[in-house]
Amino acid sequence: MTKDNKYISELIYQLADDNFIHSYRGSEWLGLAPHIEEDVAFSSINQDTMGHASMYFELLETLGEGSVDELSHNRKPKDFRNAIILEEANGSGTYLDQPEYDWAFTVIRHLFFGVLKEIRLESLNQSSYEPLIHTSRKIQTEQYYHLMHWKTWFTQLMLSTQEARDKMEQAISRVWRDFGGVISLGKYGKEISDLKLIASEDELRSEWLRRIHQIFDQVGFSIEGNPGMEQGNGRNGEHTEDLTSALNILSEVYHSDIDAVTW
């Protein structure tokens, strides 16, 4: 593998794993969303997001990193490059047993991620690695509707009851503390942006802040400073127990019969 290829795949792992884990956390809500209409809409978003992960895994496959299913179902937690805030559980309980999931946290995490994903896609549109240009264009149209969905939720909940406002503000500060990990490009960030694969971390951050503050302005909310990375940097393989248990569920059947050729 050439050095350049190493940085290319490093970036694509980040993109693939972010979408893969994010979609998983979303899919755990299936049947538990605030109302049935949302269950249907959210589920469609999760499918799209899983599809995006799959497209990135395909790029890794062509780079010789392994097959799509090996990459998604047969890697150790430390090999995952997703941001920590995306692996965090939706709440207490599991998706099958007494889930006490937090809708405010989910809306904020999706909104924050959605805004950054949009910025990343715009930047990938001009990537020096051509396959990323094609993939980002395919993803962009769907992403537009996802972001609109979460913006609507955000506005409505922020401008409704005091109870909802409090929960939402709590969720904002919680996600803020770790969202820096999503913006991060990891330890090879400089090489990745020097190769013009994607904009630099600083550029991504300032554009993200600009758009988020714009959204906050509309509901009379503000926050100071930069988002943090309190629990560590997932881009460098640092993760929590939440990722381990998520991966166990995601690959339970895959690992249940090692002789199986097809599923």
Partner: protein
């Protein structure tokens, strides 16, 4: 010429006029006059169909994140989403019917939580392995396709239109289920065994799915009323026979054994002979005392309660905006 306004007709005349429309295969719409018996039969049928779609998402939901490949993850996600969508569509049709009675979605959900509103027997059953995701999509959906197709010509227009869309999507579910089943049936001995065990688990529930032959089996049945009003055209037994004709050969072709030694096609009577399911058990299961009833109802009840603040917030937001707009 003397014209009499419809509102001036006697109840009996209205009823006769309504039945004439039914006889002429006219479609009844939500705002049309309809006898209480018809409205109640529709509410019973459509609300339990709708809630069955929603509760039906739960046994499969278990396998959504666990699906063994990315493509399987994508297809089972799409499938379960469709089922929720069917639930949504049907609950909306039902909402128009219950509105004149002063009832709404919240009442329907509460009826589910208090077990007043019943859902299909199959969705009270456990789905402990990946093979259950295959058998559900292939055979439970296969059974549902037969009943839903039979009702496509139903006399109630909004229900018929909803069913038309549902049936289109169901054909994709059948393909998805067939593909999952085929992969396991042609897989390792473990995979085959898992599939056989799942079929054993589901067989009786599948036969039960269509309901008892006659009302003496469980004490009551709405089949007669539904046929009288042309909500449905076939009996439970006719559907079960169709199911056996369609699926027994396919199941055998996969090398699976159907867990009923008495099962055979009687050439003379031209019908399938099978071991009668335990209808007492059926009645128990659909009244909410099946192996997974409590757990699944609790999952929905608790999440409904857990998200109450969200629904309150949305109501408050829309209330405010109405005021501002006005």
């Amino acid at each position: 010429m003397v014209t009499v306004r419809f509102s001036e007709l006697t109840e009996e005349e209205k009823y006769n006029h309504f039945m004439e429309r039914i006889e002429n295969d006219e479609k009844i719409e939500a705002d049309d006059w309809m006898p209480d018996e018809y409205r109640n039969a529709l509410i019973k049928l459509i609300s339990s169909h709708g809630i069955s779609e929603i509760m039906g998402a739960l046994p499969e939901k278990e396998w959504v994140p666990k699906a063994p490949t990315i493509n399987r993850k994508l297809s089972i996600m799409a499938k379960v989403q469709d089922e929720m969508g069917h639930g949504q569509l049907l609950l909306r049709v039902n909402e128009d019917l219950i509105k004149p009675l002063g009832r709404n979605r919240e009442n329907v959900m509460n009826d589910l939580f208090t077990k007043k509103l019943k859902f299909h027997n199959v969705f009270h059953m456990p789905s402990p392995t990946w093979a259950d995701a295959a058998i559900i999509a292939w055979l439970v959906d296969g059974a549902a396709i037969l009943t839903q197709t039979m009702m496509l010509k139903t006399s109630y227009g909004p229900y018929g239109r909803a069913l038309k869309r549902i049936c289109q999507e169901e054909s994709f579910h059948a393909k998805h289920g067939e593909s999952l089943t085929l992969a396991l049936a042609s897989g390792t001995s473990n995979q085959k065994q898992m599939l056989q065990e799942s079929l054993n688990r589901w067989w009786e529930s599948l036969l039960m799915f269509f309901g008892p032959k006659s009302k003496k089996d469980i004490g009551s049945s709405s089949v007669d009323i539904n046929i009288k009003y042309k909500l449905r055209t076939k009996t439970n037994e006719q559907l079960r026979q169709e199911f056996l004709t369609k699926y027994v050969p396919k199941i055998k072709l996969l090398g699976l054994t159907i867990p009923d030694e008495t099962l055979r096609f009687d050439e003379e009577k031209e019908e399938w002979i099978y071991r009668e399911p335990d209808w007492k058990k059926f009645k128990q299961v659909v009244s909410g005392n099946g192996p997974k009833s409590e757990e699944r109802i609790a999952l929905r009840r608790d999440s409904y309660k857990n998200n109450e603040w969200v629904r309150n917030a949305l109501a408050a937001y829309h209330q405010k905006n109405r005021v501002f707009a006005g």
